[in-house]
């Protein structure tokens, strides 16, 4: 295969061409080795035919709002996705929505082997854009109001349709650029990507962009200083929260299942062993002379465990208060606690009402085994002459309250993350043709990632 001799008159190495503007004489560099269709003179703004050796003038424009300075100067080279690119062209475009003009900038990038690529910038938000080789499929959904587009197996949601005007150009363009030309631009988003169609007369061009942070652009082109700060949320800006929300909820669900299993396990293992069950009578007259008494001694066996003390009193519009002391007969260690049992009910203008309960339960944690008794000192409503009450003591009962606290502690970050994702999506879509009207609308337009 090597017998083919190289051509004698080898084609000369292409070089960047230096020419002069036929209008004002300023120097013009053609950097794209003939890929450019048009080139714009940087000093007099004549749009010239880059294919013509004499650079025929195609259009002359006045920069309506003065000179626009590209953030990345023409001729700057940078590395994008591992390939060197040179900035060869720049244009500012605008669109008018409800009387307000919005401006954005586009940079034409060139590599002699890889061809043309673009960078766009809007208020500090950047996109790395290339022309689609594959046709996107555009379909309408639910009555045609909400359009979607499918590209390489991914669904993009319609964001905005607008008419884009070209109002300032500089350098080289691989197409016939004209100031004042209007194109119909439609954007579909699937963060961090944006799929755009641009319709100019009868030609439709599709391009695919990926969101870039200003810092990445600055690093790629080694630009001095800091990039302009990004304002607001851009149409295809990846949400810092959305991608994590699913993960947080999955983790939450996993922990909740784990907690439930733990709860069930402890509940099953708990012996719930009754050690005392007695009914006493409170009499106001007697309690004056002998305010407190002690119960029979009961034994707590096994490992240190919870002890539950339950009180029942058939109070009705009264209260009874019991000062308890759980006392270890062997060591004298005591746990003091007071419990109130009260129940009130009646009728008023709103109907019947009630407050309190005739039951009370309290759990004393980690009580070592041994012989115990309760010292009880009852007090009661002065209006109450006497009342029976039941004291029940159970050993080794499950404590469910801590599970509730753990559950809430896990729920909080998931809820906060979801709220942040929600607000981000709300900001994104409020700038679109489909601003969120209610929760349902937003829910359908976010969170379908992963």
């Amino acid at each position: 295969m090597s017998t083919g001799a190289p051509p004698l008159s080898g084609t000369p190495k292409p070089q960047a061409k230096a020419l002069n503007c036929p209008k004002c004489g300023a120097a013009i560099t053609l950097r794209s080795f003939g890929q450019a269709e048009t080139v714009v003179c940087g000093s007099c703004h004549a749009i010239l035919d880059a294919k013509d050796p004499n650079l025929a003038i195609l259009q002359q424009f006045e920069a309506a709002t003065g000179e626009v300075k590209p953030l990345i100067p023409l001729g700057t080279r940078g590395k994008l996705r591992g390939t060197d690119y040179e900035v060869i062209g720049f244009q500012r475009r605008s669109t008018k929505v409800e009387g307000i003009t919005y401006y954005w900038q586009e940079y034409v990038l060139f590599n002699p082997y890889k061809g043309i690529r673009y960078l766009s910038e809007y208020h500090g938000h950047w996109n790395d854009i290339s022309v689609c080789k594959t046709l996107p499929a555009v379909g309408s959904k639910l009555g045609g109001s909400s359009l979607t587009a499918n590209y390489l197996g991914e669904t993009y949601k319609h964001f905005q349709s607008a008419e884009a005007n070209t109002d300032f150009v500089l350098g080289e363009f691989p197409w016939q650029v004209r100031v004042g030309e209007l194109a119909e631009v439609t954007d579909f988003v699937h963060p961090p990507r944006v799929l755009s169609s641009e319709k100019l007369q009868n030609e439709v061009t599709w391009s695919i962009g990926e969101y870039m942070y200003g810092r990445e652009v600055w690093d790629a082109f080694q630009l001095p200083g800091a990039p302009p700060e990004a304002m607001g949320v851009y149409e295809n800006q990846p949400s810092p929260a959305t991608t994590k929300v699913t993960g947080v909820w999955v983790a939450f669900a996993a922990f909740a299942v784990f907690l439930l299993a733990l709860m069930a396990g402890f509940d099953m293992r708990a012996k719930k062993e009754p050690v005392l069950h007695e009914t006493y009578q409170y009499n106001r007259a007697e309690s004056k002379s002998e305010p407190s008494f002690v119960t029979d001694v009961f034994e707590l066996t096994g490992h240190p465990s919870t002890v539950e003390v339950k009180t029942y009193a058939p109070v009705s519009n009264h209260w009874i208060y019991l000062n308890y002391a759980l006392i270890n007969q062997d060591t004298g260690q005591a746990w003091d606690f007071g419990r109130e049992v009260s129940y009130y009910s009646g009728y008023d203008s709103d109907g019947s009402w009630s407050e309190g309960k005739q039951n009370d339960a309290v759990v004393v944690p980690r009580v070592p085994p041994g012989h115990y008794y309760l010292r009880i000192e009852p007090e009661a409503d002065p209006a109450l002459p006497g009342i029976p009450y039941t004291v029940e003591v159970n050993r080794d009962v499950p404590v469910l309250g801590i599970y509730g606290i753990a559950f809430l502690a896990l729920l909080a970050p998931a809820v906060i993350m979801s709220l942040r994702a929600y607000t981000f999506e709300w900001s994104r879509w409020s700038e679109s043709d489909h601003p969120p009207m209610n929760v349902a609308n937003l829910a359908s337009s976010s969170g379908d990632d992963e």
Partner: protein, 211 residues
Amino acid sequence: MTQPIANCPNCGAKIVFRWSSSVQTVCQFCKSILVRTDVHLKKVGQVADLPPDNSPLQVNTEGQYGHQAFVVVGRILYEYDQGGWNEWHVMMNDGTSAWLSDAQSEYALSRSSKSQNLPTLAMVHVGQQFTWSNQRYTVSVITPAHYRGVEGELPFQYWDKTDVTFVDLRTESGKFATLDYSDPQPALYLGEFVEFDDLKLKNLRSFEGWG
């Protein structure tokens, strides 16, 4: 691989065919367009110097398509109102040939298709759909072009054309088709877009200031 050797009937230089099925070639020395007949080479025309172009490819560029290696043996250069593009004639290592088109660094590899009942040019419009080999293609652009020149070996005689019309079609899966109306009988080429990096090209041209 057969590599028939002959001499240029115009200047006597050695002519080597790298692809045994080549019908036409261009003498590297005197730029005569030579057509192969049964017994000898016949000069049918003369190539004017090709305009400087920007394709990184050239005759002798080697590359890979899938598991097949190929080498560029010839090309046809076309011009249209938005610039020019090259159809590089490549020889695969299994002896078949294909076309690697380079339109402003957008590369597509296609092969001649035997499909019948192709539409006439008057019947085709942008947006129209056709199905070939179970694949639905949509007409994306109709390009009136000029034949600008040839270089190297080609699988057919191609040297006296002027205006030619191409119809490009795309699919939603990166496939590509071209209807070629340079002859009374339309020709169909089916292929796909390829990434520059995937072609692993060697022996490319170099550009001043670009390593």
